[in-house]
């Protein structure tokens, strides 16, 4: 978000395009004259198009997306209720505070050896790592969501005679939903980065996945063009997920947009 604003403020689109073209042209000339490890863009693009059409690439993409989504779903199923509960009942949060404080600083990638010990070189190991990654941002955003509901909303609704059902359905739910979706968006974007690293490291078994492809192209096939294609795929995938979630958020919770417009 911040980077987009900064980029827009400092750089006009036309100049950006010009610079990109210049970089590509320099790469093309250098690639033809010198023996670079990266082929020039003209050949590179052709190779990338071929690579993208292979079933290996497509099935790997699907496998990675599937793992991320399953791990994401598992994490959300646990984190949202837990986060909301500890947001409403402070005792639950106190109970969990030291335990979560112990686990939170441990990066999800440090869990990879444990995941292998527990689940072997399997699908589950990757899903476990994704679920761990997604859990914390979603749980923390859920706690924050319920905490930051202005008390005046609740008191106002009570004053106007809302019963418990109405309070939850008409006041709390619409107030917390935007924050929960934000947590999910952050979690899923990080998840895609982490699953690829996990696949790269847990790559001993012959499975499909963008991380496995990266591993084989790096250490066995020495295909830098394929590696770059995969890196670009990941970049596009990350931005796509972010974009989809932002749209989804605007569609599911259209009232947040009004709040944002009012804030401007």
């Amino acid at each position: 978000m911040m980077s987009v604003t900064v980029g827009r403020a400092l750089l006009s689109r036309a100049r950006l395009l010009l610079m990109v073209v210049a970089v590509l042209a320099a790469w093309e000339v250098a690639g033809r004259l010198l023996a670079l490890p990266i082929p020039p863009p003209s050949r590179f693009v052709g190779g990338a198009l071929d690579f993208v059409q292979t079933s290996l690439y497509q099935e790997s993409l699907l496998a990675t997306v599937r793992r991320s989504l399953v791990g994401f779903a598992v994490a959300c199923t646990l984190a949202v209720p837990l986060g909301l509960l500890s947001g409403v009942v402070p005792q639950v949060e106190w109970l969990l505070s030291w335990v979560l404080g112990l686990f939170r600083p441990i990066s999800p990638l440090a869990w990879i050896p444990m995941a292998i010990i527990w689940f072997g070189f399997t699908e589950t190991a990757g899903i476990f790592i994704v679920a761990l990654t997604v859990f914390f941002p979603v749980a923390l955003n859920s706690i924050a969501a319920i905490r930051t509901v202005p008390p005046v909303y609740v008191e106002g609704a009570r004053l106007l005679g809302a019963n418990r059902m109405m309070l939850v359905g008409e006041v709390l739910w619409p107030a917390i939903l935007p924050d929960i979706i934000t947590g999910m968006r952050i979690g899923l974007v990080v998840a895609f980065s982490v699953i690829v690293a996990a696949e790269l490291i847990i790559s001993a078994s012959v499975q499909l996945g963008l991380g496995y492809l990266l591993y084989y192209n790096t250490l066995l096939f020495f295909r830098l063009d394929n590696i770059i294609t995969l890196a670009v795929t990941l970049g596009i995938l990350g931005s796509l997920i972010n974009e989809v979630f932002v749209r989804l958020q605007q569609w599911i919770t259209p009232w947040t947009r009004h709040v944002r417009e009012a804030a401007w």
């Binding site: 911040m2 980077s3 604003t5 900064v6 980029g7 400092l10 750089l11 100049r15 950006l16 610079m19 990109v20 970089v23 490890p37 402070p90 005792q91 106190w94 109970l95 969990l96 505070s97 030291w98 112990l102 686990f103 939170r104 600083p105 441990i106 990066s107 999800p108 990638l109 440090a110 869990w111 990879i112 050896p113 444990m114 010990i117 527990w118 905490r147 509901v149 008390p151 609740v154 895609f192 980065s193 690829v196 690293a197 790269l200 490291i201 990266l214 591993y215 192209n217 790096t218 250490l219 020495f222 830098l224 590696i227 770059i228 995969l230 890196a231 990941l234 970049g235 990350g238 931005s239």
Partner: protein, 259 residues
């Protein structure tokens, strides 16, 4: 939501301690149920191993190696980002030359550069250092640029009126004003760097804490794996605390930064 204030803080500690106890009990029961200490070791066994290793200074050697790589890579990436961002913010002509390459590498997820660097650099010391430098660059660059953009015009003009030249303006006006954003960027960069160095060490080195927990896994030394993870967690928390402390020292005029 609103009721929380009615309780004493000591009650909070009591609950937290009870939660910890509950966690250890669940762990113990799980260890007994599984019955394979090489897969789920009981907590006491891990603690024993920890006490044994704490008297052995060699055990911390891998951590020291990782920290050394982290320091080199982080200083390289962060200082390059700082200098380039200040140049981009201050000098209009160079702005595009810096922003375009940065914009091109920006969408690549931090961990996806790992295979690219592995390909270009091979296995060895350069890999974790350059991965950290790359990963640390982006958050610091963006944060510094945002911070420099938010400097009050009046302050800049006042400095110029008093005859300050560009380097002095950058050092005395822009840096202090942008310090909160820069430190926020440094903390994000540090967290990402610490995560990435572990991944880099797992793949492409033969020393370091990331390597060591992967190595211990191969020999099913599960106690050491868990201790390594704990060490990674503690170190990560300490690194963040370190940056917060430095920020407090360097910006004494500001109210306490949020943890």
């Amino acid at each position: 939501m609103v009721r929380a204030t009615a309780f004493l803080p000591s009650q909070r500690t009591l609950f937290a301690a009870f939660g910890m106890l509950l966690f250890l009990t669940v762990w113990l029961i799980a260890a007994q149920q599984v019955g394979k200490p090489q897969i789920v070791p009981p907590p006491a066994q891990v603690l024993n191993e920890g006490l044994r290793l704490s008297s052995d200074p060699a055990a911390l050697g891998h951590l020291a190696t990782s920290l050394k790589r982290l320091a080199i890579g982080f200083v390289l990436g962060a200082s390059l980002a700082l200098v380039l961002a200040l140049l981009a913010a201050g000098l209009r002509p160079v702005r595009a030359f810096i922003n375009v390459p940065v914009g091109l590498i920006q969408p690549i997820p931090p961990l996806a550069v790992l295979p690219i660097f592995l390909f270009l650099l091979g296995i060895g010391e350069e890999l974790p250092i350059s991965v950290v430098a790359f990963v640390a660059f982006k958050p610091v660059y963006i944060a510094t640029l945002a911070g420099a953009a938010g400097v009050e015009r009046a302050h800049l003009e006042a400095a110029k009126v008093f005859g300050a030249r560009a380097p002095m303006v950058a050092r005395e006006v822009v840096l202090p004003a942008a310090a909160p954003q820069i430190f926020a960027g440094l903390r994000i960069a540090m967290a990402l760097s610490w995560m990435s160095i572990i991944a880099a060490e797992m793949i492409g080195t033969s020393a370091g804490i990331g390597f060591s927990i992967m190595y211990d896994r191969q020999f099913l030394l599960v106690n050491k794996v868990i201790l390594g993870m704990v060490l990674i967690g503690i170190t990560g928390a300490l690194l963040d605390w370190l940056l917060l402390t430095i920020e407090k020292r360097l910006t004494p005029w500001r109210p306490k930064p949020q943890g």
